[in-house]
């Protein structure tokens, strides 16, 4: 103990001695490096958030000479606007169908890939399931649009024809369009959750399974009583992240259906884009974006609340 103190003392004395000079140097470093970075954050993050919310109280049109302050009128108009209400409905349908479907696909596949014993085969499966995720969503949407063509030349209708079924208007039929976009979204997006689920499954201590095996538990029982409860944190994380990202999906809707037919797939993000850049109604679009922001903040708050009460293993 005494020896240790003797060694420590001169060092701390030395650093004490140099402190003022060093502090100066450190401060210079901090200011020099952080200023440009923070400036970018302020200009492209902080100001746009504040400005976006402020814009929602104006009847702002970049082409008009005058943009009056109209307080909450954009918001009161929103709740009477059938286009907005339809797009809110389309968004909710999309999120509430696509997110559970995503989890129902990704969790079993992740646990199956995790159970593959040969490492090379396991890695190959993981890569194959990951391949769709690396395609640019715009390219994926185009490829799928041709597969979902309503004539004889689309892959889906070719398959239906093979079974003697009549052509289906995958993207032109009001009911089918949303289903089609959901299929494309799932194809493009399941990889991420498969990887995260696989990591979560890896983190479950193997002894639990060995103990259950000794007790004679079968595969389903092990899944139900060990995997599911111990995977709660991962699942919650995946659920929240997927919900948040699905509320913001854009490219596949804009490219595949343009919101049609009859507004069936006109989700919020597409509606905001069209209102702002198609009709130049930027104040009104900002009000719609603010509603989306509030929805997402609410989900994030729920995550923080639930996440804190979760236990660790």
């Amino acid at each position: 103990m005494e020896v240790k103190q003797e060694i420590v003392k001169p060092v701390s004395y030395r650093s004490q001695y140099k402190k003022s000079k060093r502090n100066n140097r450190e401060l210079k470093f901090i200011i020099l490096s952080l200023t440009p970075i923070l400036l970018l954050f302020v200009v492209f993050m902080v100001i746009p958030i504040i400005w976006g919310i402020i814009l929602s109280f104006y009847q702002y049109d970049p082409l008009a000479d005058h943009s009056p302050f109209i307080a909450l009128k954009n918001y009161t108009e929103l709740w009477k606007d059938p286009v907005f209400l339809a797009s809110l409905k389309a968004t909710l349908i999309f999120v509430f169908v696509a997110v559970p479907a995503n989890i129902l696909i990704t969790l079993p596949i992740a646990s199956m890939i995790n159970r593959v014993r040969n490492r090379f085969v396991r890695n190959t499966f993981r890569t194959l399931f990951f391949l769709p995720a690396i395609a640019p969503l715009s390219a994926a949407s185009l490829i799928w649009s041709t597969m979902l063509r309503s004539g004889n030349d689309g892959l889906f209708n070719m398959i239906l024809a093979f079974f003697g079924h009549a052509n289906v208007g995958w993207l032109t039929d009001g009911k089918m369009a949303m289903i089609s976009v959901i299929i494309v979204t799932l194809w493009a997006d399941v990889a991420y959750n498969i990887i995260i689920f696989m990591a979560g499954l890896d983190a479950i201590p193997k002894v639990f399974y060995e103990a259950a095996e000794l007790d004679g538990a079968n595969g389903f029982q092990k899944f139900r009583h060990i995997t599911l409860p111990l995977l709660q944190r991962t699942s919650l994380f995946i659920l929240i992240m997927t919900v948040i990202s699905y509320f913001q999906m854009f490219a596949q809707f804009q490219i595949m259906t343009k919101g049609g037919p009859g507004g069936a797939t006109n989700v919020l993000s597409l509606s905001i884009y069209k209102t702002a850049f198609g009709y130049s109604r930027m104040g009104y679009a900002s009000a719609m974006a603010t509603v989306l922001l509030l929805i997402i903040l609410l989900i994030s708050l729920i995550q923080l609340r639930v996440g804190r009460s979760q236990w660790e293993y």
Partner: protein, 275 residues
């Protein structure tokens, strides 16, 4: 690896299921490649998946009728610049937030992190107006500027750098090393795995970005690949072999990046859950 375990029937069933499912996952890619090899006439008339007569007409048209090389350059240029800047700015600010003390640090860090929760839709309109006022519409810097920093990158870098022992920095200082030297020669090499994961995510996100270029770029010559692809599709609706050929070409660089860095990619994703 447990060798004693017998290959049971459910195991074979599982492998079969995974094989079929992973085949279904790559069908769109097969469709894309096969369609790109079909001729114009065949696309309209045929109802077969396989091309009757393989032709490279589509690829030829992409290079002849479209400024494809220009688009490729635009994409490579913007994605590379964004990646280098994001990795550097994230590491530098992550280092400062992790290892230095100064007034207001916690507050500033919290504000930076809070921006992660903001949906891009609310930023889209004001950022467009800022870019417009800067006179940068239809300029590649409109794509680059808002992406030079990343809140997620800062968060990730701070997490990784916080774990490094403080003695390392202290002893370098006693040896007389400058602050930038310490960052460059000591900190950066130690967090390389984290930085390469961040680099891959950033590159892929920038390469695949569609919404923002759609808003700020109108001129055909200025477009990045994903945007150009969709724009191009509008003018070639009937002969999609051209669009499919262009899709194959845009996919190749991403495939290469992914196959080289697959390990870091999967590891980074598993660690962070970042998309």
């Amino acid at each position: 690896m447990r060798r004693g375990k017998k290959i049971s029937f459910p195991y074979i069933l599982m492998i079969t299921f995974l094989t079929i499912a992973s085949f279904i996952m790559i069908i769109p890619y097969l469709w894309m490649v096969l369609s790109s090899l079909k001729g114009n006439l065949e696309i309209i008339s045929s109802t077969s998946i396989l091309p009757h007569k393989v032709t490279f007409e589509g690829y030829k048209t992409v290079f002849q009728d479209a400024p494809f090389v220009r688009w490729l350059f635009n994409s490579l240029f913007t994605a590379t610049l964004i990646t280098v800047a994001t990795v550097f700015s994230s590491a530098l600010s992550g280092y400062i937030f992790a290892k230095f003390r100064f007034a207001g640090k916690q507050m500033i860090f919290l504000v930076v992190i809070a921006t992660m929760m903001i949906p891009p839709q609310i930023l889209m309109i004001p950022t467009y107006l800022i870019i417009y006022k800067l006179g940068l519409i239809d300029n590649l810097s409109a794509v680059i500027l808002p992406s030079l920093v990343s809140a997620f990158g800062v968060f990730l870098a701070r997490q990784a750098i916080e774990e490094l022992p403080y003695d390392l920095i202290e002893s370098a200082r006693i040896d007389g090393a400058g602050e930038f030297f310490i960052f460059n020669r000591i900190i950066l090499p130690l967090v390389r795995p984290m930085l390469s994961a961040l680099a891959i995510f950033t590159f892929m996100a920038a390469w695949n970005n569609y919404v923002w270029p759609l808003i700020v770029l109108n001129d055909e010559e200025k477009m990045t690949l994903p945007l150009a692809l969709v724009f191009f599709n509008g003018s070639h609706v009937t002969n999609y072999n051209i669009v499919m050929s262009a899709s194959v070409l845009i996919m190749i660089p991403v495939f290469i990046v992914f196959l080289i860095f697959q390990k870091q990619f999967v590891k980074g994703l598993a660690l962070t859950g970042f998309k």
